[in-house]
């Protein structure tokens, strides 16, 4: 062995100690390292491992250092056994709120991390402009069939309008799109007035400034779904030329997710001036109501009557886009309302307190108890909101009808069972300390219920109350009752 290998072995020994120290609880680590460094010095000196050492002595010192791992593991085990116990937290209001807070954090983080949910939030964040309506012929049964002619729009635009300050038209047709050399795809292209997104109040993402686009090439706004499916959500697609049918079109932006909910199930909107849109075929009309027009709306609907040159009457219905395109928040509030209506069917909502004596907790304690229930419900609702959004949109980023149904069901289920749990949990919490009552004891016999009381007794581990729950509700003992424990019970709860 060469004298040069001494420092190398020394470095190995110190490295082993360093690794072993990672097992030691952090609080004791520094002192542990100090002791083992000192002991190592003695071990090396005792084995004569300084300068001219042999492999045998180095092996012994190495063996000594390996023992440090056993020592470190032992300290870790001892530290684990002596860790502070959270017994006082068990069953407490704090533990309950911490658990709910943890669930909320998880669901919120999931909504931040799941790419689909994040995109849905970004895209559905686009708000529809108040007063934006979709106009359909009054004879139309639903939005699936377009009923409007562009000539009608042109006629309206020529006359002075008091109730409407903007019209936009679009007509959907299947067209082939060349995505690359020999790569064709058939899309549902909407030939659209260039002001469609302005009328609706949406701003497409990554929008190319007008001065950078050539007027002779129409702009193409991709739907969010198409952008993701065909281009892998690559923002660099904006500005590129695509061949739509037989003419080129430049991608000028990505439509917000809400735009996908316009009738027609459009893959892309080809922006053109109204004069360039042919008069053949029917389409959809979007309009923006003025303040006067909005005052005529009732329940999201407005009736429009128009007369042509021959004084023939034409009737139309304008339906608010806000009503048509409920966002996740609207779905959530609707489902929460349904939950409140359904809750009495699955749980008794009464929180009336019955006591064996006239003793009642102070109003502060009662307010704290009520506040605790309010916090539980608020947390459950937030959990329901974020979890439902996670469930609805983790697989698809756009605001799809399927997503709406999934969110609706998820919010309803989570809120219903969550609130049921919150009410049942509240009834089993000591009115004094809000700790859950425990140690259930069956008292009496149901067969003797006319002679004596029978049911279950639960006790607050803080020594404040005893809860009596009747086995069979009777006319004289129908609801649970609290018994407030006096000082004579203290001996039971002494440490």
């Amino acid at each position: 062995m060469t004298p040069r290998s001494g420092p190398a072995f020394h470095a190995i020994d110190r490295g082993l100690l360093c690794c072993a120290s990672l097992l030691v609880p952090e609080m004791q680590r520094a002192e542990w390292r100090l002791e083992w460094e000192s002991e190592l010095w003695h071990a090396r000196r005792s084995n004569g491992a300084s300068g001219t050492s042999s492999f045998r002595t180095e092996r012994e010192v190495l063996g000594f250092c390996i023992g440090a791992f056993q020592d470190a593991a032992c300290l870790r085990r001892l530290g684990w056994r002596n860790r502070p116990q959270f017994a006082p937290l068990h069953g407490s209001a704090t533990q309950c709120l911490l658990c709910l807070g943890g669930l909320l954090l998880v669901s919120y983080l999931a909504s931040l991390l799941l790419p689909g949910v994040r995109a849905a939030r970004d895209f559905s964040g686009a708000q529809v402009q108040p007063g934006a309506i979709l106009i359909q012929d009054e004879e139309a049964e639903n939005n699936s069939v377009p009923t409007m002619a562009i000539d009608q729009i042109r006629a309206w635009e020529r006359s002075k309008q008091r109730y409407v300050d903007g019209f936009a038209f679009y007509r959907v047709a299947r067209e082939s799109v060349e995505l690359g050399p020999k790569i064709d795809s058939t899309w549902r292209i909407a030939q659209t007035s260039s002001n469609l997104f302005t009328v609706a109040g949406w701003s497409p993402r990554y929008m190319v400034a007008k001065e950078y686009t050539r007027n002779d090439v129409p702009g193409l706004v991709l739907s969010e779904r198409t952008w993701r499916q065909q281009f892998g959500a690559n923002p660099d697609i904006v500005g590129m030329l695509l061949l739509v049918g037989s003419r080129p079109a430049r991608v000028v932006g990505i439509a917000p997710g809400d735009a996908g909910r316009l009738p027609g199930n459009t893959d892309a909107w080809l922006l053109e001036s109204d004069s360039e849109i042919s008069s053949n075929g029917r389409g959809y009309v979007l309009a923006h109501l003025t303040r006067n027009g909005r005052s005529e709306m009732w329940g999201g609907l407005v009736h429009i009557t128009s007369y042509d040159a021959q004084r023939t009457r034409h009737g139309f219905w304008g339906e608010s886009l806000e009503e048509q395109t409920p966002g996740p928040e609207n779905v959530f509030w609707f489902a929460a309302l349904l939950t409140l209506l359904a809750l009495p069917a699955v749980a008794s909502v009464s929180l009336a307190e019955y006591s064996f004596s006239s003793h009642k907790p102070s109003w502060i304690r009662r307010a704290v108890r009520l506040g605790f229930l309010g916090m539980k419900i608020a947390l459950i609702m937030l959990i329901a909101y974020f979890s439902s959004v996670d469930l609805a949109y983790w697989h698809s980023s756009v605001f799809s009808p399927g997503g709406v149904y999934i969110q609706l069901i998820a919010v309803f289920a989570i809120c219903l069972f969550g609130m049921r749990w919150a009410l049942l949990d509240q009834r089993q919490r000591c009115p004094v300390c809000l700790r859950r009552v425990t140690h259930p004891a069956q008292v009496g016999s149901v067969s003797r219920m006319f002679l004596a009381w029978s049911g279950t007794e639960l006790i607050c581990t803080g020594g404040h109350t005893l809860l009596h729950v009747p086995g069979l509700p009777t006319s004289w003992f129908s609801a649970q009752r609290w018994m407030y424990l006096d000082s004579s019970w203290d001996f039971l709860f002494a440490d």
Partner: protein, 105 residues
């Protein structure tokens, strides 16, 4: 605290070694012949059970002797009682350690 009856032979050996005077980890290894992976964990448990206690040597003493400071262990009164009981349980204990001491001298 653990009862003395529960002390293992190893723990009793370490107590006996510590009883010889102010002592640090490596010297216990030398006296008992036990490996480091046995001695140090046993000392942790004895310290947890308050049978031994430890203190660091003053830096000035270590500096004077040109070595790192040592962590010395000594028996507590409970440890002394436990050792007494262990000596009855393991009669050869006292002789074994003293023999080692003589040998090392």
């Amino acid at each position: 605290m653990v009862s003395s009856a529960k002390l293992s032979h190893t723990a009793a050996m370490i107590l006996q070694a510590i009883d010889a005077g102010l002592i640090y980890g490596f010297s216990i290894m030398e006296m008992t012949g036990l490996p480091s992976g046995t001695v140090y964990p046993a000392m942790r448990r004895l310290e947890r059970d308050k049978l031994i206690c430890s203190r660091w040597e003053r830096q000035s003493i270590a500096d004077a002797e040109q070595r790192p400071p040592r962590k010395y262990y000594k028996l507590t009164s409970a440890g002394a009682e436990a050792l007494q009981a262990s000596r009855q349980r393991y009669p050869l204990l006292e002789r074994m350690i003293s023999a080692v001491e003589e040998k090392s001298l």
